[in-house]
């Protein structure tokens, strides 16, 4: 036999002990007449009792309860100390501390790099030094390569000087 569909919600509320006291007399009257609802109610109650009875009833032993309580209190104490320390940090709100730390790191980094820039010579200057040294080297190489020519030119210059002085006749008169 099936329960009445109209009384389904009332039946479930009754089984769960949630039926309003005003609705109870009418419901009990209905149960007296309706075999289907009565059977359904019995089955549901048996189901809940079975489920409840089959599960263990958990509980902390005295030792476990004491250990748990002392552990919670100890951890709370540690947390409260930490919170006090954080709150007392120059009166700055906690959420601003990471931002302040980041800003300080940036300032230090910029300061460091700018100081470093003042101490070291500029790269342009060193480049010009290198260029002048290279030019000297190129000149020296030119001199070495044209050394023979220069020696010849030196000989010619001496010859011209001798001729100009008139020590040597330019030509001999044929007999």
């Amino acid at each position: 036999m099936k329960p009445c569909p109209d009384h389904k919600e009332t039946l479930w509320l009754d089984v769960y002990g949630e039926l309003h006291p005003n609705e109870r007399p009418a419901w009990e009257k209905h149960l007296e007449k309706c075999e289907g609802c009565c059977q359904e109610r019995k089955q549901l109650l048996r189901l809940l009792q079975t489920v409840k009875a089959s599960m263990p009833s958990p509980g902390l032993s005295r030792e476990e309860a004491g250990a748990l309580a002392s552990s919670i209190i100890r951890k709370l104490g540690v947390e409260r100390k930490e919170m006090w320390w954080r709150k007392g940090l120059f009166g700055v709100p906690n959420r601003l501390i990471p931002a302040l730390a980041a800003a300080s790191i940036l300032i230090v980094a910029f300061g460091w790099f700018s100081m470093k820039g003042l101490r070291t010579p500029s790269p342009m200057r060193s480049n010009s030094n290198i260029q002048s040294e290279e030019q000297i080297l190129v000149k020296d190489l030119d001199i070495i390569e044209n050394l023979e020519l220069l020696e010849e030119m030196d000989t010619l210059q001496k010859l011209v000087q001798v001729v100009d002085r008139g020590d040597v006749p330019l030509y001999t008169k044929p007999n």
């Binding site: 949630e18 009875a53 089959s54 599960m55 263990p56 958990p58 509980g59 748990l68 919670i72 209190i73």
Partner: protein, 212 residues
């Protein structure tokens, strides 16, 4: 009206205090209030955690502790819109559900690393072995009781999370639908629906046991 006791230090003993007064004292980091709050609620909180952790007592203790710490950290945020214990039980339930999800994620990751062990290891979603039901020495009855317990546990574990929570708070903790609605942050109608569906599923699974 609350009857107050005066202790040796000349202060009101928190034992006689109402929840609201206890909360007010705990907000001021009163050591007595904190201890009283813990001793007043730890059994109940543990019982809720125990069922939500599928009977793992160690995990239930860890999560109970975590819930208390969360409650004390946030006690200043309690505005008194609902009763204090429903506010606290809500923290307990949410802590347990989060803890279970974390654990499941961790297990999933480890099972990916060790695929060979996946099938060999028994599921962690099992209630710890409990003493036999009742004082009955009849071996058949004991066997039957154990089997029923296993069936009930299995049936509960297969319920969707919210249905299971609603059912456990109602049947094992004896909370009213209104209280469950506060704890779960749902409407009363939703809680009723969860309860009905859960009962229907359990009835189908445990049909043979109930009809006997």
């Amino acid at each position: 009206m609350t009857i107050r006791e005066v202790n040796s230090k000349g202060k009101d003993s928190p034992i006689s205090l109402k929840d609201e007064e206890l909360v007010a004292r705990a907000r001021e980091n009163d050591q007595w209030a904190t201890e009283e709050f813990i001793s007043r609620y730890q059994q109940k909180a543990y019982a809720i955690a125990y069922y939500l952790c599928s009977g793992d007592s160690e995990e239930a203790q860890d999560l109970t502790q975590e819930a208390f710490l969360k409650a004390f950290r946030n006690i200043k945020k309690f505005r008194g819109n609902s009763s204090f214990y429903t506010w606290f039980y809500r923290i307990v339930v949410n802590t347990c559900l989060d803890g279970r999800r974390r654990r499941r994620r961790r297990e999933r990751i480890f099972s990916l690393w060790k695929p060979g062990q996946r099938e060999e290891e028994p599921s962690q979603e099992v209630f710890e072995e409990q003493p036999d039901m009742g004082e009955d020495n009849n071996p058949m009855a004991v066997l039957s009781g154990k089997q029923l317990t296993r069936e009930v546990r299995k049936a509960l574990m297969f319920l969707p999370e919210r249905q299971r929570v609603a059912f456990q708070l109602k049947v094992f903790q004896g909370m009213s639908i209104r209280e469950i609605a506060h704890v779960m942050g749902s409407a009363e109608g939703t809680v009723k629906s969860h309860l009905f569906r859960a009962t229907h599923s359990l009835r189908t699974v445990l049909k043979d046991w109930v009809v006997r």
